[in-house]
């Protein structure tokens, strides 16, 4: 697992088409993982929708049967990790790899009608704006 982190520093995995490709691959892997998990547990996959928004990303995850206390959400190294667990429905996992820098302090999530909506704004790309420097 650590080796892939190193590779991501060298190759442009986090920009443009690679981000999308990475995302598709991860989703397929996650889908297969959770498919196997859920088939064993007797429950279906967690369906999710991933959006690109004007300010970054947003995800909507179907999580019927869980309260917000039973869900843990974590963001680390471009990856959003979700785990929902209770006795009745067992465990459900989801991992989404996102390209571009996410402003981690501004991530918000709300659970309503069994759908967890997560908004992940991108960092303001201030470094790309040019600043005029006054000469004394």
């Amino acid at each position: 697992m650590n080796q892939t982190n190193d590779m991501r520093n060298i190759l442009p995995w986090n920009s443009g088409i690679f981000a999308e490709l990475n995302n598709i691959i991860n989703q397929s892997i996650n889908a297969i993982d959770s498919e196997v998990e859920q088939r064993c547990a007797g429950y279906p996959n967690s369906k999710h929708q991933l959006f690109s928004t004007e300010s970054g990303w947003a995800a909507r995850v179907d999580l019927p049967g869980y309260t917000k206390e039973e869900i843990t959400l974590n963001f680390e190294d471009h990856t959003l990790t979700l785990k929902a667990e209770n006795e009745t429905r067992g465990e459900r996992n989801l991992r989404l790899a996102l390209g571009d820098e996410v402003e981690t302090t501004a991530i918000s999530a709300k659970l309503e009608n069994g759908i967890l909506e997560i908004t992940l704004p991108k960092k303001e790309s201030l470094s790309l704006e040019s600043t005029d420097i006054e000469i004394q």
């Binding site: 989703q27 429950y43 279906p44 369906k47 929708q49 004007e54 019927p64 049967g65 069994g114």
Partner: protein, 108 residues
């Protein structure tokens, strides 16, 4: 798009318990009807997408849920109890009186 919701049925001696997943549905949008041993659940999932949001994965977007269940004749469907919590509809249906296991005492 109308889809069949995921559900689970658990049977025991006194009846059955059915749990139906209805994510995105509000309690007032669930319609539950029974007719001659058949149960129908229909619900609409209202969810607006904010302006500027673009879907980037291949995700199904269900709008309506519809489920028809043909239940065992021993179950008393008309007396079903329903509760809706965390977007899961749980139905408790007990068997008809005469179908319940009963001890018959033998006369002398």
């Amino acid at each position: 798009m109308t889809v069949k919701p995921h559900y689970k049925i658990a049977n025991n001696e006194t009846g059955a318990s059915i749990s139906i997943d209805l994510p995105g549905v509000k309690k007032e949008d669930v319609k539950l009807t029974s007719k001659a041993g058949a149960l129908t659940v229909s619900a609409s999932r209202t969810q607006t997408t904010p302006e500027g949001w673009q879907l980037i994965n291949q995700a199904a977007k269900p709008e309506e849920y519809e489920l028809d269940l043909e239940l065992d004749k021993t179950l008393n469907v008309s007396d079903a109890e329903a509760k809706f919590e965390n977007a899961v509809l749980t139905l408790s249906i007990s068997k008809h009186e005469e179908s319940l296991p009963r001890e018959i005492s033998i006369q002398n």
